[in-house]
């Protein structure tokens, strides 16, 4: 039960911190909507066109906006010593990675998830497709959080080149994007495609604690 208590306290801390960094979350979401407007302006008011393109746009924007927050993933905690305290408090680095990934999902991706329906309305996406979109994004975004954890822990060792991490995340997310977008277009096979997405999620999820944990350990060692 102690471990459960500790996990709860971890999220209490994340909550306190993210709340004071509410700005960042808001910035991400605004970025998301402003970009949607950009697309609407650049396409023109043609409803037909907008709705054929919209799902791809939503997905890409979701991906790009979540790279916005990658820098915050471990950097702050690393610099102010919280990472160390967490470790000394009994969490292995791999476990910290898992907790952090969920916290990223909770505080960064879930707000997006909530704003998807609004985006769908703006972009004229059919109501019955919204549910598919949200479902595929829910799975895909957790995958993105895992990838983000890996790349930003790598960035701790390589503090200069921040974008390299994002590029790596984006390369790996290409298959996710392909599958997710086709989920929407070929509705019949929704089940089989979402299970592919799930498969990818499982792989990344299994690698994440191991890879991120190693990077965290090494970067603390070298600090």
């Amino acid at each position: 039960m102690i471990i459960l208590n500790k996990i709860i306290s971890f999220y209490y801390r994340e909550y306190k911190l993210n709340l004071s960094g509410f700005q960042d979350i808001l910035t991400n979401i605004i970025f998301f909507f402003v970009s949607i407007f950009i697309f609407i302006f650049s396409i023109g008011p043609d409803k037909e066109k907008i709705s054929t393109l919209s799902i791809g746009i939503v997905w890409t924007l979701l991906l790009l906006s979540s790279t916005l927050s990658l820098r915050k993933f471990y950097q702050d905690d690393f610099e102010n010593g919280s990472l160390l305290i967490m470790h000394l408090n009994g969490f292995s680095f791999g476990f910290i990675a898992i907790l952090k990934t969920f916290s990223h999902f909770l505080f960064v991706q879930v707000p997006f998830l909530l704003s998807i329906p609004i985006a769908c309305i703006i972009l004229n996406i059919a109501n019955d497709k919204i549910i598919y979109l949200v479902a595929s994004f829910a799975v895909g975004s957790l995958t993105l959080s895992c990838l983000g954890s890996i790349s930003s822990s790598m960035n701790l060792m390589n503090q200069r080149n921040f974008l390299l991490g994002s590029v790596i995340v984006m390369i790996f997310s290409i298959p996710i994007i392909i599958f997710s977008v086709s989920i929407i277009n070929i509705e019949e096979s929704f089940n089989s495609l979402i299970s592919i997405l799930f498969g990818i999620l499982l792989i990344v999820f299994a690698i994440n604690p191991w890879a991120s944990g190693l990077c965290l350990k090494l970067s603390i060692e070298n600090n």
Binding site: M157, L214, C215
Partner: protein
């Protein structure tokens, strides 16, 4: 075959064969240029633009070949703890990137007269572009992660994961219907290409291989030295 996995054995052999390979590459390249510009016929459809093929196809093959070998060395390095694999990968990645770049540039130059645009988004071209970016990421990871032990493992894993792209490049023309030429030369059965074009192609391929080999030898040697003196 020790020289394939052992740095000092490799060094011995490299000292021995470097000059011959270099000379060979110069000779072959000159001969290849001669063949491709003067001693081969125009295509009845494409005219003289077909001569771009003699650069395009060998560079494409070598881009793929280099990555394939890097994948093998990554497996060797990770699974069988052969550190020479890391050395090889660090040294050779830029060469592969250059070949890919040549392939893309020559392809677009060819595409403009053939298809009417520099670039289309078909599966072959897209996957080659991704191959190029994968090469670049490998190079930048090598440059920017400071801790060597971590860096080489991370890069090796990345190479392994990225190798998924290789079959996509190779077979995309067969799997999806695309603008790009399906395999005509490298088919397993009888190639469907005129022998008069085959000769310059083979010579150019050999020339590209020997050029790549001589640069690789140089780069691997410097990599070995810099590791010995702990600069990297």
């Amino acid at each position: 075959m020790k020289f394939l996995v052992n740095p000092s054995k490799f060094n011995e052999l490299a000292d021995y064969i470097f000059k011959p390979v270099l000379i060979l590459s110069i000779l072959l390249f000159a001969l290849g240029l001669l063949f491709s510009f003067y001693l081969s016929p125009d295509d009845y459809q494409q005219g003289s633009t077909v001569r771009i093929m003699y650069v395009h196809v060998p560079s494409a093959w070598l881009a793929l070949l280099t990555y394939a070998i890097m994948t093998l060395y990554s497996i060797a390095a990770l699974a069988f703890r052969i550190p020479f694999g890391f050395i090889f990968n660090t040294a050779v990645a830029p060469i592969g990137a250059v070949f890919t770049l040549i392939c893309v540039i020559s392809g677009s130059l060819w595409g403009k007269p053939m298809w009417g645009t520099w670039w289309v988004w078909d599966a072959r071209l897209t996957s080659v572009a991704i191959l190029f970016i994968i090469y670049l990421i490998i190079i930048f990871m090598n440059l920017s992660i400071e801790n060597r032990n971590v860096r080489e493992k991370v890069v090796a894993i990345f190479i392994l994961v990225g190798s998924v792209n290789l079959p996509i490049v190779k077979f995309s023309v067969d799997w999806w219907n695309t603008l790009h030429q399906p395999a005509t030369i490298s088919k397993l059965s009888k190639p469907s290409i005129d022998p008069s074009m085959m000769t310059p192609l083979i010579i150019m391929t050999l020339a590209f291989i020997s050029i790549g080999l001589s640069i690789a030898i140089l780069r691997i040697k410097t990599e070995i030295i810099s590791r010995k003196s702990n600069l990297g």
